[in-house]
Symmetry: C2
Subunit: 578 residues, 2 copies
């Protein structure tokens, strides 16, 4: 029982499958921890492979490559203990945390609570661990947990605390949704108090296809006070000092302080005992804690998630530049802002594609957005392609009134032009549809829905306005003209068209969508919430009917509790209404 | 111990979410069983809701609606015992089998082995049952199992047999892949022998999005002899008589005959005891067994799966008609044959869309396929749309050699024209790409890949030829001209183009794809199989790079052990090569 412990939490941004690159980042983290004089350095869940590696985990050679990288990393752990997430191939496959020290692997903890809901498929890949794990590092006793393990108040964390752990370590890859960081922090604070243990939470950061990991690593003392916090959405080596003895003292002193649940036989084993070299323990006078990053405002947090999600999709897939259509509407204006903030104006190209139904005002606004953001704007009118299709189809459509067919052709011509630029120059096409449109199918498959990445597909129209207003408010020169924000939304695919011709107004639509999609409410429950029955029936029918479109939509960034994609798995063939 | 038992296996085709419609089908099955004088009638796994209902299972009101339907069905069970799959909402949600008799629910068995691999996500929805279940029906004792439960040699089937069951019932929804029916039959024969019990296997039939269920219900006696078999790919009420006493006699007589594994305490409870009304037991002189359907030849089996998968997608989603482009190539010819066999020629419309690169021979062949099949053929030349795009993009592309951009535009114009017909007339667009092309990305996103259903997306080019040859060989008048089969494959997007300009020849490509995709082999393992290292590297790179295209592909019918879609979940952002 002698003194403090200095830790380094390597909040890193790995790339899925890039085992060599992740290994280099981990070794840099170990070097940083050594330079900082930390005794223990933590890396996130599956840091070696990136998270989630999905069906790469079904390849035995992938698992062997990951293990080889782990052994090479272990060789670098002279003078520091490292905890690193990796997929362990043993009698089965486990989501594991390796304890590395003195150049070798000392022990392995296997995740016990495997999430298999929402975006998670961990039962597809992993066998369940059966036992909590303690490690002693010098005089400190730490219990190991991986992500989901600590979301439950019971074992393994409880068992580890009952078996003597005064520090609970959690290595994590926890996908973001709006407000998740604060929710997670509250949970971890509670877990520290439940167990009278310090909580050391090392999180993954970065974008991976539809997921963003928000970082926000934490060190919490035994009384539930946050004593160090890493930034959201950025890589960081968070160095902090803890007093591992604190809780034990408190526990002995104060009878109120004991774990709420008692268990006869905590199921835990000690998997590693590591002596600390002289000089690695801070003097008793050293101060406890570390840097505490400010939390972002709610809108800024979502915006930062979108920026990081887009940047990582572009960089990790090695695109040089992105291209998007600017319509003069609010959605494409927001996507242009996000793209510029993610990549810089030189890597963003915008295309303005007027038709005879495009108003002078929206076209002028589109040009203004491009100018305000300093991005290239190409103009490609679509009228001659419209005429060519009309002529090709003239005989077939003779005598039939123009309608959705002609409207969709306009959207598809624009999609084709953007894809032509993508094919010719290798640019990634960004789509600009929002979640309200995706929900009710108010988009053209292969038209405005065509592209490689759908940046705001999980943002409702309501949220789009909120984000644009905030982006304008925090800029020296607001990039989005107020006329874009004030004008009633229109797809401009026919004369005087407005979204409200086809859909309930967004302030009515969006709350029904929230209830139906995110809360899985049925018709009757929605009506009990006070929505108009006719609106409810109309919205449910639209959402269900549009599933086939969503199935072919590009991936985009999850920022809600239930995003379209891996998060919501509904049949296309489905006669259940609601 | 008195006599025989007459059973009815209702191999039904439910529609996911259509609880009312499924209820009506079940009641028809009960009526049929009563008319046939059966004492016991079986329905497939989740027959009430259809399988798989996916995230509908997260809606509490959906589960309550399913329960209400079950209670209404129970009221119809006067004079017959019914076993029916349904999702049970209790302390948690279970994949359950209800025992209905005398107008009420007598007991419920909960599935113990929940598959969570391949296309399955059952841990996402269901809690695990903990105990085998016996029912006594008259003097017979039957053990209940649901689908996956019986694929393992151990419990619950083993426990139920040890506890006295001489009949093992399995209600199932087992997705098809080529050869699966025979594989499953061998497994069930083995299970009958393992446990000295008759096996009664009642299977779902029908298409549901990417899955086809092949039916092939079975009754197997205690010595492993198939004594009744329902048709593959068709609804059927299979009526058969078994001798439930057989195995017990055998077991007592012959010491070799006993379950291979002994367990001290089989974990089983008896959940229902139902007396049989007088006259429901066949006389001792009645013969054992029932009709035994012939199994289809391997190619016919795959073809039948494609026909059923397409027909059910069209019918269950209430499309009147389908439309597809005919190129004069083998893929679209095959899809046209399947569509006509599924829906009849009047519900199939073909479109021939020549460009300046289309040869007279392929166009003539396309017209011949349409004529042979008796389907409408619309001709829509694409040259004027090509010129319009060229002109629109002229300034941007000035001085750059034509290439992939121009080729993709042709494919996208064709996609747009088919989608215009879909928008105007409400037809479902069928895409015609095969699995070899999908694997290596040899297709144009939003072009030939545009459509609502990708009929042959899981058929390699090799299999496409096999199916076309077989379709020709079994027809009085072969629908596909031999010139289509003999001509080297070409996308005809530039002069004298051939697939082999861009890809290894299909006889080289397809076996590498099988190894990489279906067997999850890595580079080294493929090379050890004897493939050329340069081919292997090229194919792996192509497959990995095309993941973003596959993510936006329409659903299509799984006929292999690993289809693209829910069966193979790989990240787009992925730097692991191989």
């Amino acid at each position: 029982m002698s003194g403090l412990l200095k830790l380094a939490l390597c909040q890193m941004n790995p790339t899925v499958g890039d085992i060599g690159g992740n290994e280099r980042k981990i070794i840099e983290g170990i070097d940083g921890a050594l330079r900082a004089g930390a005794a223990l350095v933590l890396f996130p869940e599956l840091a070696i492979t990136g998270y989630p590696p999905e069906d790469l985990l079904l390849k035995e050679h992938f698992l062997r490559d990951a293990r080889d990288a782990l052994e090479r990393v272990a060789a670098k752990t002279r003078g520091v203990v490292a905890l690193i997430g990796f997929p362990e191939l043993a009698d089965d496959v486990y989501n594991a945390c390796a304890v590395l020290a003195d150049g070798s692997v000392h022990g392995i903890y296997r995740k016990m609570l495997l999430p298999n809901y929402g975006v998670f498929d961990e039962h597809r890949y992993f066998q369940t661990g059966t036992q909590g794990a303690l490690i002693s590092v010098g005089d400190a006793i730490a219990g190991l947990t991986i992500c989901e393990d600590i979301w439950e108040p019971g074992p393994p964390a409880l068992d580890e605390a009952l078996a003597g752990a005064t520090v609970l370590v959690n290595i994590s890859a926890s996908p973001y949704h709006a407000g998740k960081g604060s929710e997670r922090e509250r949970m971890l604070v509670q877990r520290a108090r439940d167990n009278l243990a310090a909580v050391v939470f090392c999180a993954l950061v970065g974008g991976q296809d539809e997921l963003v990991f928000d970082g926000h690593s934490l060190v919490i003392d035994h009384e539930g006070t946050v004593i160090a916090r890493a930034s959201q959405f950025e890589e960081e080596l968070l160095v902090a000092t803890i007093d591992p003895e604190g809780p034990r003292g408190v526990r002995l002193r104060d009878p109120r302080h004991r774990p709420a649940v008692r268990r006869a036989r905590p199921d835990v084993s000690t998997i590693a005992r590591i002596a600390l070299p002289d000089g690695s323990i801070p003097a008793d006078g050293a101060s406890v804690g570390g840097p505490i990053a400010q939390l972002l405002e709610p809108s800024d947090e979502v915006y930062a998630a979108l920026v990081l999600g887009l940047r990582d999709y572009v960089e990790k897939n090695r695109f040089g530049r992105v291209v998007l259509g600017l319509s003069g509407g609010v959605d494409s204006a927001l996507v242009a802002c996000i793209a510029v903030d993610a990549l810089g104006p030189d890597r963003v190209c915008t295309v303005i594609m007027p038709s005879p139904y495009s108003s002078a005002e929206t076209q002028a606004d589109a040009r203004l957005v491009a100018a305000n953001l300093g991005v290239e704007a190409i103009e490609l009118p679509i009228e001659s392609a419209m005429r060519a299709y009309e002529q090709t189809l003239a005989e077939l459509l003779r005598g039939r009134p123009p309608g959705i067919t002609q409207e969709n052709l306009q959207a598809r011509i624009r999609g084709n032009l953007l894809m032509a630029l993508s094919n010719e120059f290798g640019w990634l096409v960004l789509t600009t549809g929002n979640k309200s449109e995706m929900s009710v199918g108010y988009s053209t498959l292969y038209g405005d829905a065509a592209g490689g990445f759908a940046v705001i597909k999980d943002c409702s129209k309501t949220r789009v306005y909120e984000l644009v207003r905030r982006r304008n408010a925090t800029a020296a020169a607001p990039p989005v003209p107020t006329s874009i924000i004030d004008r009633p939304p229109s797809a401009e695919l026919r004369l005087d068209q407005r979204d409200e011709d086809s859909l309930p107004p967004y302030p009515v639509l969006d709350p029904i969508l929230d209830g139906y999609i995110e809360d899985d409410l049925g018709r009757e429950q929605l009506i009990r919430r006070g929505f108009d029955p006719a609106d409810v029936d109309r919205v449910i029918a639209l959402v269900d009917r549009a599933e086939y479109k969503r199935r072919q939509a590009p991936p985009g960034i999850k920022i809600s509790t239930k995003a379209f994609g891996r998060d919501r798995r509904v049949p296309i063939t489905n006669r259940y209404g609601g």
